[in-house]
């Protein structure tokens, strides 16, 4: 695709959780790229590997025996997969930042807000106390925290969920990262706050020119924010394209099923269509196309061949063997 201009280029990423005796391949041959200033969505059900994908990029695995087993992660010319821990520490925070799903637990309860923001400024940007303090105030006001000066001394438990997410965004942006990974940033927030936070992310993208990898299970969030989107199913990308392409012409039965399950798409008075069955067990995925046990259009070849992502129009790919016959 546009490999030359991409900020982040992921090729054939494979991530495994090694359990006792069994290995689960959470991410199985995922490729995508993110351009500078772009908001790229990664959407799918729980357990489809979207979080594992973005955590693989910065090698953030919560102590589990997880490894990036294959593939290339090119970030601004550096191969992240081959960096040692030291090199990774310099990339994290400074060039790639991340915000988390649950703002209630993502701030250290024993440190003042100001200290938590200033910590990164001093570590990565080498600012002195005074300069870091001024910068912290500026950051807090840029994420819409009112009277930031007086909030520096507050502890996280003084803040509501929406406010905490703003603080977390301020911390993430402290070092002007080129890429912000947002792992379900609004899932734990109520809808009005969700809208504010998404608008904030859009505004900050416009102001700073950073790229955003937006991980979500919410197609509404995708529609509101993302320029391009990849739909993941069972550790693989089912469909990828520009957001309008995906919504106007979903070219994979799974994407289609997801959209049919949305109230706005089904139309007034129509019944929502849930997707039958359950996502497959990734320790023993079904042969062939992983969606075939739940797919209404599954044919014999779907049970045998693993489909690759193929372009059906410029910038729009689908991993369905029958995409042409079905006229999706």
């Amino acid at each position: 695709m546009s490999g030359a201009t991409a900020l982040l280029q992921v090729e054939n990423l494979v991530t495994r959780f090694n359990g006792h005796g069994s290995a689960v391949t959470a991410v199985d041959g995922v490729s995508f790229d993110i351009r500078p200033g772009e908001i790229f969505g990664l959407v799918g059900e729980s357990g489809c590997g979207k979080s594992a994908t973005c955590r693989s990029l910065i090698r953030l695995f919560g102590g589990a025996a997880t490894e990036v087993a294959g593939g290339k992660i090119l970030f601004d010319g550096i191969d992240l997969a081959s960096l040692d821990d030291r090199g990774m520490e310099d990339v994290r925070g400074a060039r790639i930042a991340m915000i988390f799903q649950d703002p209630m637990t993502a701030l250290n309860p024993t440190m003042r807000i100001g200290d938590q923001i200033m910590e990164g400024l001093r570590r990565h940007r080498g600012l002195g106390r005074r300069a870091a303090r001024e910068e912290a105030v500026r950051l807090l006001s840029s994420v819409g925290v009112t009277s930031p000066e007086s909030r520096l001394g507050a502890y996280p438990h003084h803040f509501s969920g929406g406010m905490r997410q703003r603080v977390l965004i301020a911390i993430a942006l402290a070092c002007r990262p080129q890429l912000l990974i947002a792992d379900e940033p609004t899932t734990a927030l109520d809808v009005t706050i969700q809208d504010q936070i998404l608008k904030l992310i859009l505004r900050l993208r416009d102001e700073t020119g950073m790229s955003v990898l937006m991980v979500t299970h919410d197609l509404g969030v995708v529609a509101q924010t993302c320029d391009r989107v990849a739909v993941m199913y069972a550790g693989r990308i089912a469909e990828m394209g520009e957001t309008p392409q995906i919504f106007r012409r979903p070219a994979h039965p799974y994407t289609r099923a997801l959209l049919d399950a949305l109230p706005a798409h089904a139309g007034r008075g129509a019944k929502l269509k849930p997707i039958g069955g359950e996502p497959p067990n990734l320790a023993a995925p079904p042969p062939g196309c992983r969606f075939h046990p739940r797919c209404p259009h599954a044919a014999d070849k779907c049970k045998q061949r693993l489909p690759e992502l193929e372009m059906i129009e410029p910038g729009h790919g689908s991993a369905c063997l029958r995409v042409k016959e079905l006229g999706l």
């Binding site: 994290r92 925070g93 209630m104 993502a106 250290n108 309860p109 024993t110 910590e119 990565h124």
Partner: protein
């Protein structure tokens, strides 16, 4: 913002256990450090003419079989007992917490090796190990420190490790990693402060247990040696005259109870006070 926030002060005002505990501790410290200066009687002065006098105006807690003033001895003993108890808790607290922190944070093989070591030590009864170590090295204060440290760190290691396992999965620790902080910084600033509270609370309870253990060693003749006043030794010596002079054992016993209540209240109060709020 003032040094102590109004919220912290409000939390303190509501915390009755902590207030009473601190009050008792203050009284205890005053008696321990100022008390001996005000005593008229010499805790070591033997006077057979004055033996086994019941509590009264001249001798508030009476005198023992050798005619020594029991009040003077109880007050003097406080310093020795407290000093030993605190050292015997502080050293294991520091060592155990460090081990638990490292074990829980690094995990993997390090964790397995350290925790199996803890399991092995755990299999021996506390008193048996302490008595065995002091008994074989000979009774002295240094050997008591050594014995308690060798035996008691495992509780702290287990407590802190368990907390660290919880804390390190919290998103703020993950977030600290994403921000590119070094392991040392993450351990000291993000894990330790959130994992140490249960160990501090346990430390208060452990002071009580340790005082009992120290006095038990004194009672067995393995701790502080006579004639140095020590509560366990005093109870042990008074036992022989329990029917003629009950005061010889009762008052050092009450002193132990007092210290026990003080630290139990402190532990309870600190538990509420230090628990980080969500």
């Amino acid at each position: 913002m003032s040094l102590i926030s109004t919220e912290t002060r409000a939390r303190f005002r509501r915390n009755r256990s902590l207030q009473i505990g601190l009050l008792l501790l203050l009284l205890l410290l005053v008696l321990t450090f100022i008390g001996p200066l005000l005593l008229s009687a010499d805790p070591l002065a033997v006077d057979f003419g004055q033996s086994l006098i019941p509590p009264g105006i001249d001798h508030w807690f009476g005198t023992d079989d050798l005619g020594r003033d029991v009040f003077a001895r109880v007050v003097t003993a406080a310093k020795v007992d407290l000093q030993i108890a605190i050292m015997c808790v502080l050293l294991p607290f520091l060592i155990g917490s460090a081990v638990g922190l490292v074990s829980g944070y690094i995990g993997g093989k390090t964790d397995i090796v350290l925790m199996r070591l803890v399991d092995i030590l755990w299999a021996f009864p506390f008193y048996v190990l302490v008595i065995a170590i002091v008994g074989s090295l000979g009774p002295s204060i240094a050997n008591m420190y050594l014995a308690f440290t060798l035996v008691a760190w495992i509780s702290f290691a287990r407590i802190v490790r368990g907390e660290v396992l919880l804390v390190k999965r919290m998103e703020y620790v993950q977030a600290a990693k994403v921000l590119g902080y070094s392991h040392l910084r993450i351990i000291l600033r993000h894990v330790l402060p959130n994992a140490i509270t249960p160990a501090i609370v346990f430390m208060m309870a452990d002071v009580v247990l340790t005082i009992l253990a120290v006095t038990a060693l004194g009672f067995l003749g393995l701790g502080i040696q006579p004639p140095t006043p020590e509560w366990g030794v005093m109870i042990s010596e008074g036992r022989n005259f329990i029917f003629d002079g009950w005061w010889g054992s009762l008052f050092p016993g009450l002193a132990i109870v007092y210290v026990g209540i003080t630290f139990a209240l402190l532990g309870d109060g600190l538990d509420d006070f230090l628990r980080p709020k969500a």
